[in-house]
């Protein structure tokens, strides 16, 4: 295994301490850290002690077979799900026991693009994107309009603000969801399979858009995806979830050279498909 991958594993294993590491000048300072996270749904054990460190300002993609709990993992990072065991740290704050206002304070730093975009179907695209601005920032309407139009233009949906989600294609919904995620200019954005159900061309468009936005705004991005090999060209780090654990994490080039059997098989099948 390469040096960087070993280091990533080292950092992951180091993070199994129960104390948040202080923000230092280390090149791999964690903005999100999962420590020994376990999650069961009934008798089914989905996460079996996940240790994962998400570096700030980077785009980290989590890959893995379907049904392995990648979306579950993502939802733990923003406190939508609480682990049965383990800890989730966001910049030195352990969020698993937070509720109400304290949890909302942490969530203000996040945005999430859901698998189905999760647009509010009773609101137009404009109202969807404007929603967090009106609800959280209570900006004057001219400012709301300006910021919404700006974001819609960035995702290529200029002039589509009056449409309802039901009138949009899958790709347009994802772009509208991305605009809503970006409009509050969050520090961290979670992408839950942003290209699922899209044709390859539209999937590439969404990936390019995510990459462009990530480069422009510099937010920390965590993406769950199956899109191999596409994710290797846009990600800074790739992690693989297998059997409820992170089995590998490395920059894309190192990751593709991994000697790990599960990683090699997954990449090989992904490329064939």
């Amino acid at each position: 295994m390469s040096g960087k991958m070993s280091l990533a594993r080292e950092v992951c294993s180091c993070s199994v301490t129960h104390h948040p590491s202080p923000i230092t000048h280390h090149w791999f300072v964690a903005v999100i850290r999962l420590v020994g996270v376990e999650k069961n749904f009934g008798n089914q054990q989905v996460l079996r002690g996940v240790n994962l460190t998400i570096p700030p300002g980077k785009l980290t993609t989590v890959i893995g077979p379907s049904g392995e709990g990648k979306s579950v993992l993502l939802k733990h990072m923003i406190g939508l799900l609480q682990p049965d065991r383990g800890e989730v740290w966001v910049d030195g704050v352990e969020i698993t026991r937070l509720r109400g206002k304290a949890l909302n304070e942490v969530r203000k730093r996040f945005a999430m693009l859901f698998q189905g975009a999760a647009l509010f179907d009773s609101l137009t695209v404009f109202e969807n994107v404007a929603f967090p601005l009106r609800e959280k920032l209570r900006l004057p309407e001219p400012d709301v309009a300006r910021r919404v139009e700006e974001k819609l233009e960035q995702v290529g949906l200029s002039g589509m603000g009056h449409k309802y989600p039901a009138e949009l294609s899958g790709g347009m919904k994802k772009r509208a969801g991305l605009a809503r995620a970006l409009v509050m200019e969050p520090e961290i954005i979670l992408f839950d399979e942003p290209t699922t159900g899209l044709d390859p061309l539209m999937a590439k468009t969404i990936h390019d858009l995510i990459l462009a936005m990530h480069r422009k705004f510099g937010f920390t991005a965590v993406m769950v995806s199956h899109e191999i090999p596409e994710i290797f060209s846009i990600s800074d780090w790739v992690a693989m979830l297998k059997d409820g654990k992170i089995v590998a994490m490395a920059p894309p080039t190192e990751f593709q050279r991994s000697a790990d059997q599960a990683v090699r098989e997954f990449i090989a099948v992904g490329i064939e498909v």
Partner: protein, 259 residues
């Protein structure tokens, strides 16, 4: 012996589940009220829900009230005539409607029309992750989605019951007086002398509590729906059945207290 143990186990599991479910329902209601007291207040959301739960239910409530009053007028007139007491028709219709039929039937109509829609709407929002999206934006779904519905039902159902009462009494009048030839003055006079303010207050208290039952049960069932189309269908059915049954049971208890 094994069968007996299995049976007891099943009863125990069901009992534990029911106790847990009741606890969750109570916590859901208390949390919603707690969020209701925190800013921001959402008058526009409440008005929107009032329009949906109240105004849009008016037609079906008026229709039910009219025919309920008419059938009471019809049945009451022929029954009372046997004893030479047609003059008491107004009192019979008004007391039946104001005390019992108005609050119960109007609430059942709201359950069928608006309650089922509430469960379906919230359930779909749960399945399509719209509720999770609210959470990720640090907006409480209980405050944004559920509280306005509960407030609107608490205001809307009593207003609908008032409409039901008036329309029902006129329905009885149309049949008993206009169609069957009863005495108009006797109808209103018997009504005025029989109905007391405590009957009206009783009806209002009932309608407020029924409004709470409808919105609480229907929102809860939608909020915790199983994540499938079948699950949502089941949640909607459960919501309507449970809310209707609770309205009838609660009506009995309230009546026994108010009488």
């Amino acid at each position: 012996m094994l069968m007996l143990t299995a049976g007891i186990e099943r009863i125990g599991r069901t009992t534990l589940f029911l106790i847990g479910e009741m606890g969750r329902m109570l916590l859901f209601l208390l949390s919603t009220f707690a969020w209701l007291l925190r800013p921001p207040l959402r008058p526009f959301q409440i008005l929107k829900q009032l329009h949906f739960i109240g105004f849009k239910s008016t037609f079906v409530v008026v229709l039910t009230a009219a025919f309920t009053g008419m059938v009471l007028g019809l049945q009451g007139y022929y029954t009372l005539r046997k004893y030479g007491s047609e003059a008491a028709l107004g009192a019979a219709v008004a007391l039946s409607i104001i005390r019992e039929l108005g609050p119960v039937l109007a609430s059942l109509m709201v359950t069928a029309r608006a309650g089922s829609a509430m469960t379906a709407e919230i359930g779909i929002m749960r399945i399509t992750e719209q509720i999770d999206a609210l959470d990720t934006m640090a907006i409480s779904p209980l405050q944004y989605l559920i509280s306005p519905k509960i407030v609107a039902a608490l205001i809307g159902v009593p207003l609908l019951v008032a409409i039901f009462d008036v329309v029902g009494i006129y329905g009885g009048y149309v049949v008993g007086v206009d169609l069957l030839g009863g005495n108009s003055g006797a109808y209103w006079n018997s009504l005025e002398s029989a109905v007391e303010w405590k009957d009206v207050y009783g009806g209002i208290w009932k309608s407020i509590s029924f409004g709470l039952i409808v919105s609480w049960i229907c929102c809860y069932k939608g909020y915790y729906t199983r994540m499938s189309a079948e699950g949502l269908g089941a949640a909607t059915t459960e919501a309507v059945v449970l809310a209707s049954v609770l309205i009838l049971i609660w009506d009995y208890f309230l009546t026994s207290v108010l009488l």
